[in-house]
């Protein structure tokens, strides 16, 4: 078990310097999601115009994995159509299963592949992505 596989530099960078942390206007789609087993929570906001996510911000509390994942996801989802966003969320699920997938939208996301070796932490990484799926369903 190598801690460096999990806590890669790029993950720690997103944890320390979160991108898109904050709130959007009230008319943005807001999704509150928590992980009842551990207490992590996220409030994700998506600004949607014509079936496209034009802006995304989040607030929340959680560990380095859940918060850095939210930071990366919000960076990657901006400018994506619903279809593209769902496709990206599906690729993220595949990444968590240990599959070799690419994220041209934001290569930082690939750094989370190490989470796969820490089964107890997968739910941390997927919290923000589950919020994204829920938001798009809305």
């Amino acid at each position: 078990m190598q801690l460096d596989d999990l806590y890669r530099r790029v993950i720690m960078d997103h944890y320390k310097n979160p991108r898109n942390r904050g709130s959007l206007n009230e008319d943005a789609v807001t999704i509150n999601l928590n992980n009842p087993t551990c207490g992590d929570r996220i409030a994700l906001q998506l600004q949607v115009v014509d079936g496209k996510v034009v802006d995304a911000k989040y607030t929340g509390e959680g560990c380095s994995i859940s918060m850095s994942s939210a930071s990366m996801m919000t960076e990657a989802v901006k400018g994506r159509t619903f279809e593209e966003a769902i496709n990206m969320a599906e690729r993220f699920s595949a990444l968590m299963k240990g599959e070799d997938v690419e994220f041209q939208e934001n290569e930082d996301i690939e750094a989370l592949s190490g989470v796969n070796k820490f089964p107890a932490r997968i739910k941390c990484a997927t919290l923000a992505w589950n919020a994204l799926r829920k938001g798009i369903e809305q």
Binding site: M12, C63, A120
Partner: protein
Amino acid sequence: MNINAIREQFPVLHQEINGHPLVYLDSAASSQKPRSVIDAVTRYYELDNANVHRGVHTLGSRATDAFEGARQKVAALLNAESPEQIIFTRGTTTALNLVASSYARTVCKEGDEIVITPMEHHSNLIPWQQAAKATGATLKYIPLQPDGSISIKDAEAVITANTKIVAITYVSNVLGVINPIKELAAIAHRNGAVIVVDGAQSTPHMKVDVQDLDADFYAFSGHKMCGPTGIGALYGKKELLSNMEPIEYGGEMIDFVELYESTWKEIPYRFEGGTPIIAGAVGLGAAIDFLQEIGLDEIDKHEKQLAAYAYNRLSEIDGITIYGPKDNRVGLVTFNLDDVHPHDVSTVLDSKGIAIRAGHHCCQPLMRWLNVSATARASFYLYNTEEEVDRLADALIQTKEFFGHAIG
């Protein structure tokens, strides 16, 4: 107390996790099991297995004797007046739900009060929320002192003549604080209320005397005290249990069944519908034997020493916050490291073979009171040593360094 000899009896402790000898510091969530408990369960299945209280064959008698023998051991452990006051349940949760679903719904009405505290585990909180909603009773809280303890003065102010039930944990699974149950019982009784005690964190670690405490109901789980999962018990005063309605109906709990009416067996059987967890009860009996052979006073002493040692060692770490009072605590230490989330602490410790708990510990209201979303907790049992506390302290310092470096 010879810790090495005790450790020898726990097979699971003798393994490496991620290349390091296992340091198991999560016994407050679930304890490890000694060989004698594992063997008792195996032996029961290999030699005595049959259903209880049914049939007249030899195995049926042996299984019944083993099951009822375990009930007697529980009664003796708690110093209950008689074994019929011990109801086997799935654990503390089921036991507390039984009181809340049966007793509370019969006794409480609009205008009555149910009194609890913000330090309760969800299993001693939600059943009372639901009982209050169902009966129109008001749920009230005894506030916590800044150190997480409760004061008798506050309890006297909150518990009134309208209070029907006071439900409180003997020992907090987060703060480690030991609550003054005997005094609270006296206040409850003075006001005509009963006291329900959550004994999940006390029974494994200290001598409990339900008569001395004057507890009306007392619940605990087997798996936190060297026994198997899926078994626990509810103690109740005889006159209370005798007037309580069952909440589960089926085999084992009936006296006569007619087409349109049925009558119930006497206590405790009327609360034990269906085939019980027989092997679990047998394992719990073996766990009680094991603990009593060592002596609960000895175990209590050992854990308090470890807790004090851990409190001091961990206090030396820069940027650590330890929750709960310094004194009057059992063998657990709940803490947070500045700038490192408890999940991350737990993952780093696991990489060094150290198992602790991270999260809200089924105490979301208490987490809000502490103003945190989660905490880390190291909890100790009779098999833990000062060397293990040292390994924890060293690993926490390394965790800080690792994260300090990683997030620069």
